[in-house]
Symmetry: C2
Subunit: 460 residues, 2 copies
Amino acid sequence: MTPPPTTILTSTSRLTLTSTSTSISTTPGRGWAIGGRVGPRDSDLSVPGSARFVRSAAAAPPVRSPRLFSAAALGVAAVAGRRQRRQQRRRRTAARAGWHFGSEDADEPELQQQGEYQEEDFEDGEEDGFSQLSTHREMIEDEVRTEAFRKAIFQHCRGKVVLEIGCGTGILSLFAAQAGASRVVAVEANEEVAEFAREVVSSNGFSDVVTVISGRIEDVWEEVDRQLEDENRGEIQADILISEWMGFMLVCDGMFRSVVFARDRWLKEDGLMLPSKCDLWVAPFSNPALIEEQTGYWCSTPYGLNLSALAPRALEQHLSQPVIKILPESGVLATPVSVLHLDCNSAEDWEVDGGRAKFDFTMNRDAPFHGLAAWFSCELGPQVSFSTSPDSRPTHWEQTLLFVGPESPAHELALRAGERVTGDLQWLVSGRSTGVVMVGEVACSAEVVRFTRRLELHLV
Amino acid sequence: MTPPPTTILTSTSRLTLTSTSTSISTTPGRGWAIGGRVGPRDSDLSVPGSARFVRSAAAAPPVRSPRLFSAAALGVAAVAGRRQRRQQRRRRTAARAGWHFGSEDADEPELQQQGEYQEEDFEDGEEDGFSQLSTHREMIEDEVRTEAFRKAIFQHCRGKVVLEIGCGTGILSLFAAQAGASRVVAVEANEEVAEFAREVVSSNGFSDVVTVISGRIEDVWEEVDRQLEDENRGEIQADILISEWMGFMLVCDGMFRSVVFARDRWLKEDGLMLPSKCDLWVAPFSNPALIEEQTGYWCSTPYGLNLSALAPRALEQHLSQPVIKILPESGVLATPVSVLHLDCNSAEDWEVDGGRAKFDFTMNRDAPFHGLAAWFSCELGPQVSFSTSPDSRPTHWEQTLLFVGPESPAHELALRAGERVTGDLQWLVSGRSTGVVMVGEVACSAEVVRFTRRLELHLV
């Protein structure tokens, strides 16, 4: 299965919201809200199409900045049980911190965050998984990811001034130096990790080319100014901006806001973004093996005991959050569509922070319906790309599976080729928490079965 | 390798502290402290031997009760990197909550907790991994553990009144019912899990024998009284007390305090405890494969880059906490000794909460020294036992590896058969956090190399 051409189901070619009554707002210190209930705002932006977008006048630096690292590596190789437990705890923490979903009965549930999300466990850049080298190793070892960046960097960076946001241990900046960049400025929020990057730059003999700056880009911009000015070309700017900011489902826990901050400040007019374009893809899926994996043991009469009553409970617990897992290619039930297309040279941070898209899928095979699977693809300049789709080589991002859940009447509905799944998908990112709402219906035989599902993904 | 007879390196046969100046104290709301600096106390208990034990007069229920579930299942099958990251975060949380170690220079560092440990993430019984059925499945699927309990229960429970503390999904109580117990009262702190247990009891047709009570034993003792009284034998007591309370390294995050509470209140004079006896074993170990696993990638020149500077950093990060991992049998370098022996019929809760023991090992093979490995064994009545030792069938507890760490001069010291490792091991459990201090010396060739290591294990 090859990904089809990008299909943007939106009212404009650039913005991804489709509802005629939808608005996105941000208020200082309160994060984002999607829906009719819009908080105080500073300005309105009119855009083509029927959607209305409301955005506060952004002062730089932004009020609430994502971290300067990607959540990407956090999903690799752990057993689902442990991951689910960990996420479970975060979900509860978040529940206390003010996430609220609308009524289950609402036809059009809204995602709103009431009060600022409490990032209680991450009071400074030190306090998350990205201080752990094992996390960085998982990302570096992902050859699909790292080789794509390496190839693009070697194609474009010779003789260029390069800025990297969220450099981690400095690998991508070292590629740029190896490729012949005249100057590389690498920014890393985590001080300990920045020191690791300096050591690696030094032991590879590139200390004269690569400068590692420790701190959040919004805090250390003056130092970046100085470093870029040192180039003495009379302009404080970069030719190429590199950042591996992509999280699960592209948007989760990304640091795209910091990338936009850096792009708007330093990237020259015709500068290159790496990645340059990104798409978030969605398709209906079926994954009976995962259902069996979660329920089979409970139904196996261990020690002669009937534990089958626990099978649906265990399943609901496991599926109560987005599941990060490799989906067999045969589990994709219809042609995927892109619900978010980002041109990284022009996209705004709020395009990643929240969005909404209608979907309309026609099944291309018979299978029990389980929900929507999400993944992303990236272009790195005109000639390099990679995808985290089920028909591509697996990456540490795997796929993100949004199950309608065993309590939904649509769960395991036997769909046949030609039948349709239609509806509406919303997401809202706040700090390290992402809320997702799926509302839709499955047209199956003579029956129409509706589903509504709210899920939250939390990262530690 | 068969475990040797129990060797208690203590000044009395029952209590495990060896230092002539050691005291253990507890003050209401402040947890335990080991060392010379003893806080306010209510009473002193004189015991045989040279150690002095200070204990507050315990009012029932205890001031700070451990949870009614074991930490046991939390270590299974996740990759080390994720586990380490998770523990890392907890370590930092704990650091804020008031753990303090003595000076690195001290010959005899002391473990003290200043202020009450903040169990911020677990404000009620719902908020930890034990609400997740995947955690319970890991424990039930551990056949070494579950079959040992099953065998002992079938040997002893016919016609008996049985009380289980921390019943989880109710499996052990169901074994008791299958074995012919006249009455089983099962207590589970987590309300959701208690409901699961009720369903399982019902679907196995034992609702008339097994009663599941939801709540912490210290809170629901009146209900337990009523249930035991219903037996109409004129006495509110149980013949057998079952509890699978054992955590990593036996003591970590256990709920032995609740077991003691129940035993002292309800177990009849000659009643049976399951488990009946437990030992915590320690031996020096060597595990070059784990060192290679943590450092090999960084030294492999990935993508042509020299990342070897990160190898020692990654290793120190990984070893900065106790490592839960299967140790090859060949990695045990000397005859193990028991540093804690519990007779569950008479042991007090503070014997698990904190302890200190001297060790004196003579190497029985040549190997690079890495630290002390810990595991435990249990007797379940006179005829059944199991061990979590490196030479036994692996369990979900694996072994607990306390590395001296790459920054210690003793790390990787090439020891030869006949050379000695001597010193002192302390531990202190507070809520879901356990602090460990190893102080010792390695007599190696003509040299004596000292080591001091402080480690903390945190469970979520």
